[in-house]
């Protein structure tokens, strides 16, 4: 789930941090720059692991801040295909399930990857919600939000940043686009196998 990635970056250290010890100031700057951000192909940055080397410290003309070339390691959240992760149900719609890990919410289980055979029934508790039920041996097993759901990672994709296309779209389409915020990293999971799905099914 978590990997270390080594990155080199040219960092501008703002002058108001000059009174702090160098390592702490650079760690703080790196944190504010990379923490909770997605780097393509590397995943979601969770934490700064350590600083390997700091070079430079030059002040460029016209600038009050010093610039350092820092090489450091970050702890990245990058699930690999085939990994089994347990998460909580966030929402359940007609397109499938959406699961959440607390720090990462964009895990989708689309309908083809749900446990089959299954059927859906409208859930009165949720707005636009649909509850999915797995049929096995004549017994119905519903997927509700009570316990953790185990899923296997099927695919991890990094969709490109959408360009602003206000010229062509109508107002309705604009509203739909705005309601779903852009997700820079999307994990697609599957629960179509033995041992996957809510833990209560298998205990």
């Amino acid at each position: 789930m978590f990997f270390l990635s080594e990155i080199e970056h040219t960092l501008r250290l703002p002058p108001h941090l000059l009174n702090q010890p160098l390592n702490d100031a650079i760690k703080g700057e790196l944190g504010s720059l990379f923490l909770d951000k997605v780097i393509e192909k590397l995943g979601l940055c969770v934490s700064v692991y350590d600083i390997r080397s700091i070079k430079g410290g030059f002040v460029f003309p016209g600038d009050g801040a010093s610039t350092y070339t820092v090489s450091f390691r970050l702890v990245m959240f990058r699930p690999f295909v085939g990994e089994v992760i347990s998460a909580r149900l966030k929402e359940s719609t007609k397109d499938g399930l959406r699961l959440s890990l607390g720090f990462f919410d964009d895990i989708y289980v689309p309908v083809p990857l749900l446990a089959s055979p299954n059927h859906s029934e409208p859930d009165p508790g949720l707005k636009d919600g649909v509850r999915w039920v797995w049929e096995y041996d004549g017994v119905n097993y519903p997927i509700d939000g009570t316990d953790e759901i185990r899923f296997r990672v099927h695919n991890v994709s990094y969709p490109p940043i959408p360009l602003d296309q206000r010229n062509d779209s109508d107002e309705k389409e604009l509203e739909q686009k705005v309601s779903k915020p852009f997700a820079p990293m999307v994990v697609t999971g599957s629960i179509d196998s033995d041992g996957l799905g809510p833990i209560s099914w298998w205990v």
Partner: protein, 143 residues
């Protein structure tokens, strides 16, 4: 920004939890003002609920040594340490081609897991209830 090495090593959940704990994250509300940002805290919250919260370095090393005789891939050992399967069904999910590679050794493997890796907090409660009921039945038979 230049990526020097995209994958410099895989970390188990326990290692990340250890890192966050050494920075000062903790479960009590007093530890909130530490050098741990809110997003790191969310990761810490998630990891505390998994099996990693009860593990130590010695336990993980011992388990990896035991796994050598089962010929498992590194990713599979990582998955097992993170997930801590408690039954054969869960082992089937994690390990590919389980039937052909493990055959009868599956039960032995589940036993090894149960002995070396401590259970996650969600699984401990039913275990305690069982222990209490066993003690009660022992007292009844003694009387």
């Amino acid at each position: 920004m230049k990526i020097l090495e995209s994958s410099a090593g895989a970390l188990t959940n326990f290692e990340v939890l250890d890192l966050l704990r050494s920075r000062g994250a903790g479960k009590d509300p007093t530890c909130v003002i530490a050098s741990v940002s809110p997003s790191e805290f969310k990761v810490f919250d998630y990891l505390e609920q998994t099996a990693a919260c009860n593990q130590t370095k010695e336990i993980v090393h011992k388990f990896v040594d035991e796994c050598k005789k089962y010929d498992l891939a590194k990713a599979e050992i990582l998955n097992v340490v993170n997930m801590r399967p408690s039954s054969a069904v869960e082992v089937y999910t994690i390990i590919e081609e389980c039937d052909s590679r493990m055959e009868e050794k599956i039960d032995e493997f589940v036993e090894t897991i149960a002995q070396i890796l401590p259970p996650p907090p969600s699984q401990e409660q039913p275990g305690e209830e069982n222990a209490e009921s066993k003690e009660e039945s022992k007292e009844e038979t003694a009387n």
